[in-house]
């Protein structure tokens, strides 16, 4: 289960976990930050590509963009095309997303 992340102070971290856990968490956090940044850049590029498609078509909002070929957070895994005008899917039981990186559609349920 994903806890709602509260900001931890330096004191909380030092006193709240042992050194090994802190080391592992730091390594994971560094790698995750890089992955998150790459993901943001990928989405920015996707937005550019979709805009270019609509420019070629000469019309916005009409092209039936295909759904991602693999499961991705925020897309209906059963849809063939992107559902326009519909909000991103949220899994049942999770709180509503208030900002980027907050709990949202779980595309990783297939994970081991």
């Amino acid at each position: 289960m994903a806890k709602k992340s509260a900001s931890l102070s330096f004191r909380d971290i030092v006193l709240g976990a042992d050194a090994e856990v802190i080391r592992q968490a730091h390594e994971a956090r560094v790698q995750i930050d890089k992955l998150v940044e790459e993901r943001q850049l990928a989405y920015a590029r996707i937005a550019e590509l979709e805009t270019q498609v609509e420019d070629v078509l000469g019309e916005t909002g009409a092209f039936p963009f295909p759904a991602p070929p693999l499961s991705v957070a925020g897309f209906d895994p059963k849809a063939d095309t992107v559902t326009r005008g519909a909000p991103a899917k949220k899994p049942a039981g999770r709180p509503a997303a208030s900002a980027d990186e907050s709990p949202e559609a779980d595309a990783s349920s297939e994970e081991a």
Binding site: A2, A28, I32, E54, E59, G61, D100, D106, E111
Partner: protein
């Protein structure tokens, strides 16, 4: 749609698909590092937006087929006048198929103004479609 445009769109879609594959891999890697599903949210994309369609385009398409009768004896071609990206263009075709595609492709950027039939001298013999709301 011109072949060049279709090729361009396909190229863009291929790159888009590859990026989604990479995003899938990233999300899985992040969840592996976190040892539980990572709570990603998806940023908004242009494909989330519904565009405004001209309500007349569908009715035009529906009735366009009826209007595109075959050329009768004495008629040699269709002449279509349309407005695209602010410019008015006129084309001559001997097959109604291209005109049906044009009618079906109408949008905010493309609007068919008139379809007429011509005789061998290039004179109009009949008007099959005329958009009175958009003078040529």
């Amino acid at each position: 749609m011109p072949a060049e445009s279709q090729i361009r769109i396909n190229t863009l879609l291929l790159e888009r698909e590859a990026l989604f594959v990479r995003i899938h891999e990233i999300e899985r890697a992040a969840s592996t590092l976190l040892r539980e599903p990572y709570p990603f949210t998806r940023p908004p994309l242009p494909s989330d937006q519904r565009g405004k369609r001209k309500p007349t385009s569908r009715s035009t398409h529906a009735s366009g087929k009826d209007k595109l009768r075959k050329l009768e004896p004495g008629e040699t071609a269709y002449r279509v006048t349309y407005r695209q990206l602010g410019q008015t263009r006129t084309e001559t075709h001997d097959s109604p198929d291209a005109l049906r595609t044009l009618l079906a492709s109408q949008s905010a950027q493309l609007h068919v103004l008139a379809i007429e039939t011509l005789d061998a001298r290039g004179e109009v013999t009949a008007t099959l479609h005329l958009d009175a709301s958009n003078p040529r």
